[in-house]
Subunit: 320 residues, 2 copies
Amino acid sequence: MASDLRYSEEPVRPPGPRQLLVQVLYLSVDPGLRGWLNPARTYIAPVEVGDVMRAIGVGKVVEANGHNRFSPGDYVMGMLGTQEVCTTDGEDLVRVDPALAPLPTYLGTLGLPGLTAYVAVSDLGRPAQGETFVVSAGAGAVGSVAGQLARLRDCRVVGIVGGYEKCRYVTEELRFDAAIDYKSEEVSRGLRRECPDGVNVYLDNVGGEILDAVLERLARGARVVISGAVSQYNVTGPWRGPSNYMSLLVNRASMVGFVVWDHLDRYESFVAEMAALIRNGSVRSREQIVDGLAELPNAVATLFAGDNLGKLVLRIAGDE
Amino acid sequence: MASDLRYSEEPVRPPGPRQLLVQVLYLSVDPGLRGWLNPARTYIAPVEVGDVMRAIGVGKVVEANGHNRFSPGDYVMGMLGTQEVCTTDGEDLVRVDPALAPLPTYLGTLGLPGLTAYVAVSDLGRPAQGETFVVSAGAGAVGSVAGQLARLRDCRVVGIVGGYEKCRYVTEELRFDAAIDYKSEEVSRGLRRECPDGVNVYLDNVGGEILDAVLERLARGARVVISGAVSQYNVTGPWRGPSNYMSLLVNRASMVGFVVWDHLDRYESFVAEMAALIRNGSVRSREQIVDGLAELPNAVATLFAGDNLGKLVLRIAGDE
């Protein structure tokens, strides 16, 4: 991806009336960064050659020009782009509170990954007490929160992760019931061992073989929630569809997709609830901070190799 | 399939206490007949070599031996098997009324295909007024009923069918709004033309390429209902999964599978409602009758070639 990006210096675009000038402080390193470069329109238009690369970030409002929601000094989260300063009408930005949690947390557990996990568990998957909840990329920004939320609902929580260190992280630090290391064993085999009664709810971020393995192991009435397909973002040509989709029929199961941006109206109540869970120790959060905009391509490569532990965040500037 | 079946004459197994002896009158020629021969367990155990081939039929109770639900002379529908006389405990049989409709209709519009369509439309797909409802195998036993039920909900109804004759049948006789002939054009192209606002509800019986084409054309919030995958029943090796399943995410859509046997408790109220719709001309029904058990393999081949028009039924015996 490094060769697809070009760093350039340009004058700051002055904000018009009711536009904001935001100093970018942290940027989220997301699988979406790769997906947004694909030319097909998905839930959002692709980034065009010459555009500023899209990215979610946290920043501080420097100028507000009579904006109806934000004033200078406010902290905001949203699509700020991979740049040091962002000029925006602020429509999709939400306010964040640095007194409640460190700013990078608003790109992970208290940010869109956390909201994704929250919607997937509370609204769509709704795992009940005693049910088995499985999440792929279980140590990732979405999976780590989803697993912990399912644990709070007294589910059996199984994370599919890559590598011993992540197995240890999700079972010991995040208190999942079990982990399956897809790098060291067949996922099907791990699922047979760890999900003896089948899978009631599955949150999938990865697609591909792992999705097929879980479909094969669904319990009656299972709910599969699709929030991404990281394994396919670098595929050119047709994607690999789930061969075992007829398991939906056999098991009277459902598969549902969603996009977190549709749920921004719940952000405020989500943050209040999640911040309380972090404060009382029910949910643990971890970020891995990398310094400087120039590190973006390397950070994306790290993410796709699965070499990070915790939410990958790029620090663009210190907060004075 | 002919070479997989052997015709043999065996003495009738005498019914035990509270068992029924049923004379088989009509048998349903189903895609399931092929699926049930595959060795993998799906929603029902596969038919083993040496077993009587499974089939749904309508018959007349000859002996009842103190059965708690049925008496001699009753007409019944259920898994009677490809045989002239069936000995059964009658657990999964339902009563049918020859005064309400001709017996073969109980294998089509008033039978499990009709109930499948009814559950798919009323419970799972729930197309609303003005929405676009698409059904594959639109001239088939399930599709023809589903399309007519969607039409009664004031939907735009589009049937995907094979051949000009079926296009004519669904648009003129069944009053669908449009038909797409997958034998004469790309389904994607037909969908673009006939579903300008996208597909809100899709009932899929066929899987494969057609499912992928419809997924590509989903409207926001679409519901995909899976009741079969006829295109894959003869595939050896892994099935073709829907490459475009991420359209579920992009369009905040869902895909749900179901098995009609779970809904037998609604059979009685379904029959009352559907028989009334047939009587007042709102729903039209057609059966194609073939004579004799020996015709079963040919009839299944006709079905998979898509050469039948209307529900294919095998007549085993006349009703005195």
